[in-house]
């Protein structure tokens, strides 16, 4: 029997399998910026973000995905950042966020 198209379906499961993901780049990033381990994911960076104010760019999300080995589209997303540096002033853990942006772009792009 042909399936009836009701206009909606089952969405693909969003499971991040860290055992399957290649964490090499993530580890390299962590090695150069060990302070990233102190990130509590509060989202101050995203709340203050100049680019995030104009687009859907979400630094906290991109960073979290990259750390878990989900690199697809991360470089393109990071390229929306204008490096203005507000996030760095707000980060409660004092993470060098501008350095993180540059590092992720360098590791995942063609620098």
């Amino acid at each position: 029997m042909a399936s009836v198209n009701f206009g909606f379906g089952i969405s693909k499961p969003r499971v991040i399998d860290i055992d399957r993901n290649n964490l090499r780049k993530s580890d390299e990033i962590l090695l150069e910026m060990p302070e990233l381990q102190t990130c509590i994911g509060c989202g101050s960076c995203t709340a203050s973000c100049t680019a995030g104010n104009l687009t859907s760019f979400n630094f906290r999300k991109v960073h979290a995905l990259v750390r878990r080995g989900e690199y697809a589209g991360a470089y393109e997303e990071m390229n929306k950042c204008m490096l203005c540096g507000k996030c760095r002033l707000l980060c409660p853990r004092g993470i060098n966020t501008r350095g993180v942006v540059m590092l992720i772009k360098r590791k995942l792009g063609d620098f």
């Binding site: 302070e35 104009l54 204008m82 540096g85 507000k86 993470i95 501008r98 792009g109």
Partner: protein, 598 residues
């Protein structure tokens, strides 16, 4: 007279190598200059700029006036070596001419004239020449002694820290230091054997004769001249590959600079002149706060230029700089250190023709309309008190204001430029430029010196005057449109790097502060002011290191006894707030508070 002797060979070979390498460098650099730069040179040569350059060469390459201003002892050391050696050569040349007339004399004949003329004719002016040459040699030797002494105790010559040199530089330096003592020995032996000489070589000669006896000295005669020649030749070979290349690069650089050639945001041939003009004197090391407060010792301009010259520059070195401009302000050669560092970063990080920032297209969140535009900048959006203070000031004077980015907008582009992504930065600049033009403003006021600098230098805005809010307020006060109530509060003013050294605006904020209260100056102020440490140019130091830099600044500002620190940069304000015990305010805030109450 015969001017050939085997011992002159090392000198001759060294000189030939030196001139071949120099010619090759000069020609290849000049050829690589851009078309525009060559046009500037062609236009500049037959102008007054050439005469000005000659005078500047005398002042800077020989007398070292700028180093004298930094420290007289250091200035004397550099001058005695440069001017002394130059005069030794010049007077030596005249001496040869006095003996030989205008007969052609080969180069080594001039340099080793004392050797060749030892048994020659004695004219009536020989004692005078002997005296002058001895005097000059003593002058140079005093410089060598100081240079030597500085290696052990740089502090006594006014430098807390001296440059850490590479092996190649040390080799070249050793040759240089040996040249003049060896010359003294060779000439003294010659004098002891053949007579002549004055207070220096004469007395040294008789001393040597009394110790060793004439027979022994006659054996040492040839070897002494050999050693002197080897030291000269060795130095000449090492020269173009070491720090001493600056001797021959600074002179054309002075000319080119007076012809208005400047390094740009992308690498160019003019950079060779700038980079190789660095003598690695190390004067840039002491003012560097990364060195003084954080103990980072390998990123200062002297090391940056060295690494760049020998193609071993790493991103970690290029990125670790506040670009506060304190080194540029003291550089005795006047090298454009910040521009060079920027174009190094651009070479490492710029991505041309990438399709980025497509999302700018339809953004226009500006509000209001008026001839005066106000651009808060990202950082001011993070310090909303500054912006509301500006709003009250605009209201008080009744200016119609167009608010470019109160609801958020695109960054000015300077942060990306500072990190080397020049092409991306230009996309933002183009966006903002067309936004400003579209709204027909004639004055653009910004309260962020970072934006201000890029508006002035990169935007090329037509018919729009760019003002920092301190300048704008100063004008309002001067024209009587803004009346303020002067209190008796003391304010310590902190000069932001981008506004002060970066934009040359020191007086406007001070005039404004004096209109509302009493101004207190920190120990380091104006051109010498310290950086708050949070500079956008540095993407390498950690948060803790930034705090350390800021606490030194606030300590100094609080030492003035003022209760409140005033600055005119939102980034400095944020940075200093973290370590200040009292309040840190923006200039606009203290002005808005002094507005008469209605």
């Amino acid at each position: 007279m015969n001017f050939y002797a085997p011992f002159t060979l090392p000198f001759i070979i060294g000189t030939i190598i030196l001139f071949i390498v120099l010619a090759w460098k000069y020609v290849s650099w000049f050829v690589a200059l851009t078309h525009e730069d060559k046009r500037l040179v062609a236009k500049g040569v037959p102008s007054l700029a050439t005469l000005r350059s000659v005078w500047e060469v005398v002042r800077e390459s020989l007398l070292h006036v700028r180093i004298f201003r930094i420290d007289p002892r250091l200035g004397y050391m550099h001058m005695s070596l440069a001017l002394g050696w130059f005069l030794l050569i010049a007077v030596g040349w005249i001496e040869t001419m006095a003996y030989m007339g205008f007969a052609p004399v080969p180069l080594q004949g001039h340099v080793f004239f004392k050797y060749f003329a030892a048994q020659g004719v004695v004219t009536e002016h020989k004692p005078y020449f002997d005296f002058v040459m001895d005097l000059l040699l003593a002058f140079v030797l005093s410089g060598v002694a100081l240079a030597w002494f500085k290696r052990f105790s740089s502090r006594s010559l006014g430098m807390r820290r001296a440059t850490k040199h590479t092996t190649g530089d040390r080799l070249a330096m050793s040759f240089l230091w040996f040249i003049f003592p060896l010359r003294l020995v060779a000439e003294s032996i010659t004098v002891a054997l053949y007579g002549g000489g004055s207070f220096l070589t004469g007395s040294c000669g008789s001393l040597l004769a009394s110790i060793f006896g004439e027979r022994l000295l006659s054996y040492a005669f040839e070897p002494a001249w050999w050693l002197y020649s080897i030291a000269l030749g060795g130095f000449f070979v090492a020269m173009p590959f070491s720090r001493y290349m600056h001797i021959f690069t600074e002179i054309p650089l002075i000319f080119l600079r007076n012809y208005r050639l400047r390094p740009r945001e992308e690498k160019g041939a003019i950079d060779y002149f700038e980079v190789q003009s660095c003598s690695r004197c190390g004067i840039c090391i002491d003012p560097c706060q990364l060195q003084a407060d954080l103990g980072i010792h390998d990123v200062q301009s002297v090391y940056f230029l060295r690494d760049r010259r020998y193609n071993m520059l790493k991103q970690s070195v290029a990125n670790n700089c506040l670009m506060c401009g304190r080194c540029e302000a003291v550089c005795p050669v006047g090298i454009n250190l910040n521009t060079l560092r920027l174009n190094s970063r651009a070479l490492m990080r710029n991505i041309p023709n990438e399709r980025r920032y497509g999302y700018f297209r339809d953004i226009d969140r500006s509000e209001g309309s008026g001839k005066v535009g106000y651009f808060a900048g990202c950082m001011t959006l993070l310090t909303p008190r500054t912006m509301s203070a500006m709003e009250r000031i605009f209201e008080a004077v009744g200016d119609q204001v167009w608010w470019a980015d109160r609801q958020g907008s695109v960054c000015c582009g300077r942060p990306l430029k500072l990190s080397g992504e020049t092409d991306s930065a230009h996309k933002m600049m183009e966006f903002n430029r067309s936004l400003f033009h579209k709204h027909g403003i004639t004055t653009l006021v910004t309260s962020c010196p970072i934006c201000l600098k890029t508006f002035k230098e990169d935007y090329a805005l037509e018919h729009i005057e760019v003002l920092h809010h301190s300048e704008y307020i100063e004008r309002l006060i001067a024209s009587g449109r803004l009346v303020l109530e002067r209190g008796d509060v003391r304010y310590a003013y902190h000069d932001p790097c981008e506004l002060g050294r970066g934009g040359g605006i020191y007086d406007a904020p001070r005039t404004v502060i004096e209109a509302v209260g009493e101004l207190a100056e920190a120990e380091h102020n104006r051109r010498n002011a310290l950086c708050c440490g949070s500079s956008l140019a540095n993407t390498a130091i950690t948060d803790g290191q930034q705090l350390k830099l800021a606490s030194r600044v606030t300590d100094e500002l609080e030492a003035t006894g003022a209760a409140t620190i005033v600055t005119s940069c939102p980034l400095c304000k944020k940075a200093l707030q973290r370590t200040a015990k009292g309040g840190v305010r923006d200039l606009a805030e203290v002005v808005a508070e002094a507005l008469p109450r209605k």
